[in-house]
Amino acid sequence: MARPVADREEVAVADPVLELRDASLSYGSRTLWSGLDLQVRPGELVAVLGGNGTGKTSLLRAVLGLQQLSAGTMQVAGHAPRRGDASIGYVPQQRRIDSHTPLRVRDLVRQGLDGHRWGIGRPGRVRWDRVDAALAQVGASAYADMPLSLLSGGEQQRARVAQALVGDPSLLLCDEPLLSLDQSSQRTVTELVDRRRREHGTAVLFVTHEINPVLPYVDRVLYLAGGRFRIGTVDEVLNSEALSALYGTRVEVLRHGDQVLVAGAPHHVEHHAAPCVHEDEDVAR
């Protein structure tokens, strides 16, 4: 990589796939976050937590080159962020795909490879071998030729993971990929993401409201709240002291085995706690 390595620490480990230095993002006078330093290394899974409007999605948009930082610098796989970066895979949240979507599972996955290219694509030159490999990676080979609309939400989401992986990305951005999935599908999707990063060294930025499904796999947490943030391991960030300091008010973090419940966070992030409560209910059932 052409970029000079700044500090000694970085020499020891692999170059970060994603690196933000003193980065800020604001809309007009409203600052979502500022002074953000974040390095995500190959194979690392960083969960991005925080309420609505704290700038989680804007962070992803900035990485995707769809949004300019208002200050600071960012490097994605060694270069400045740019639109249509092939080194990034993107997993969106699950949405119902209706019967007016004439795509089979393999067509959705193929879009991750050449959906952005002009023209119709010469039939003989479609890389179906890569599509098949991506489908195999997520265990979706059996329904490769099924219409997407006939699949369950969990199966559709599995196809979306394959779509994100088919381009062999070095950075995977997951934007609330677990939303409106049942628990077993949530587990499947997180396991697929975890396997990918361990087997291929893909760095992962995992934006989620619900920390619990990803908790066992998270290396570090980036917690955004009210223009401020906190980065660290789960233990460093998800404790009462750290979050109380972040929110500037008393926040209670309850940990019970593999489950985390954040209680008392200010109103605008209350929905963060809510899914965790559901989670607990599900466990109790």
Binding site: L66, H100, P102, Q111, H116, A142, M146, L173, R195
Partner: protein, 299 residues
Amino acid sequence: MSDVWGQLFDFRDYGALLPLVANSLLAGAVLGLVGGMVSSIVMMRDLPFAVHGISELSFAGATGALLIGAGVVAGALAGSVVAALLIGVLGASARSRSSIVGVLMPFGLGLGILFLSLYDGRAANKFGLLIGQIVSVDDPQLTAMLVSGAVVAVGMLVLWRPLVFASTDPEVAAARGVPVRALSIAFMVLLGLAVAISVQTIGALLVLSIICTPAAAAFRVSANPRVVVALSSAFGFTAMVGGILLATGSRLPITPYVTTLSFAIFVVCAGVGAWRQRHGWSRARALAPSSRVAEPATT
């Protein structure tokens, strides 16, 4: 009864009549093929109502041109492209699109009726723009229609992959660098061109039978995007050319023949689709769970 039948289907002197409809057949064939392509995207983007709105403004443009003595083709094109752009720019979300179409449609139809009432030319032309012509396409018209058709076809082929991506999954397409918004506007222009051609053959009120029904039928029987587009174009072609061939000889507009053929194709496809849901796709689905349970292997 046999009298009605005789009016509907009359193949006397068919050989002599056929050369007279050669222009219409050519225009119909192009419209059928192009309309089939366009309607696939119309279905993916949920635009049938917008198509209807565009065709009413195209009707207003065509009748306005008729009134001031400009070319009907140019008027139809101007009206529909303006309408398509308005809907594309103002109607980004489904809700705002529906409301802008709802506002534009009666306005366009009203304007068209005003222009028609003021115009005192041939009666055949008058209602032809609304409900379809008794086959008559002159040479300059044909040229204009063929050129527009070619522009739409080439445009669709060039935009195809990113357009399908942006139509089926705008969020991910944007993340992959696809210019979602620009594509949406570009497609509206192509759609406007296609609607303008349709208005002049099957009439403003019935454009949907060529720019909606063929793809709706194709979507019932396949989820393979290539198959869907091929079928949709084949259905559009069959309805248009078949309709014109059946109408030749009778003194009726081609419209009912085209719409009936188009609808019949849809009914057959809906039946096949229902059967396939039950027997074809679901069997493939039944095979899936065993492998699903086994995956992912590492856990």
